[in-house]
Amino acid sequence: MSDLTYLYCVVQREKAPPLARAPRGLPGTGTPRAIDAGRGLWLVASDAPAAGYGEASIGRGLQDLAWVSARALPHEAVIEFVGRSGTVLPMKLFTLFRNDERALEHVAGQRRRIDRLLERLAGREEWGLRVLIDEPRALERAEASARSEAKGASGTEFLLRKKKQRDLSREVIERGGERAAALFDELSRRTDDSRRRAPPPGPAGRRVLLDAAFLVRRGQVKPFHAAVRKAAGRLGRDGYELTLTGPWPPYNFVAESA
């Protein structure tokens, strides 16, 4: 069987991207090489043996997190390397074509969309934000504040406060979704683009309220971080946790719907 063409990314550059020092890429594949797509566009790809990267092999491999991991990291490493030399459109893991010609055809067919995307992505990076609520902790905090108010109260007052305490707990949790949405809107206004992804149902007690990606202009990263930090200060009091990851190549901003 002949080799397939594994595509890492498309990069905008006048000359071929320097790949002599590029990471090795996925296990079993050839060293990454540049393919000229014309008018300042290059594909960064490598030869992938059909035996290891055919549909069946990938289908089997996807059942195994370790197998996927061993390919996800080199994929990301190559794209990050290329990203230092120009604006990249990162491909998702396992973007494979039968050969170079097919890869070039695909890119030529999408050329207008690609050019538009490159313009929007130039000088920007992706940052990921997750907001979680630790429900037991949120409840504990709400209860503690209600308890301190209830100190030394009469029986009736105590019961009233107990009720208030329950309402408070419910409110902390119910309002989580609203507060996450408000944060997303606020950060969306500060950034060039944003995507909200459907958060998965978390384990009991730890709910992912927000899973979002933001496209941030390089010069705006500091103020963006400051805004997230400010929100963390505000939300942290009530049992929320924020995780910011990045900078990423703009994986979430190259989808077909983008």
Binding site: I58, L62, H75, L93, F97, G233, L244
Partner: protein
């Protein structure tokens, strides 16, 4: 105030990004790939992988001091 922020927020940059975060980003979650030219995995349901990536990453979010 500062202390509270540090507990509630974690910034993971470059080498600090977890493996699962990487997987979460690079996986094709059913993005339409056009034509038979592509042997990608658009048809494969990867939701479970993304889920475990997110959940494991979530476990890591323990209060600890912010870097730098």
């Amino acid at each position: 105030m500062r202390r509270r922020e540090e507990q509630a927020m974690e910034i993971l940059e470059g080498a600090d990004q977890s493996l699962l975060d990487v997987i979460d980003h690079v996986l094709n979650k059913g993005v339409a790939v056009s034509g038979e030219a592509i042997l990608g995995v658009a048809g494969v349901d990867l939701v479970y992988l993304r889920l475990s990536a997110l959940l494991c990453a979530a476990d890591r979010v323990q209060p600890r001091s912010r870097k730098k």
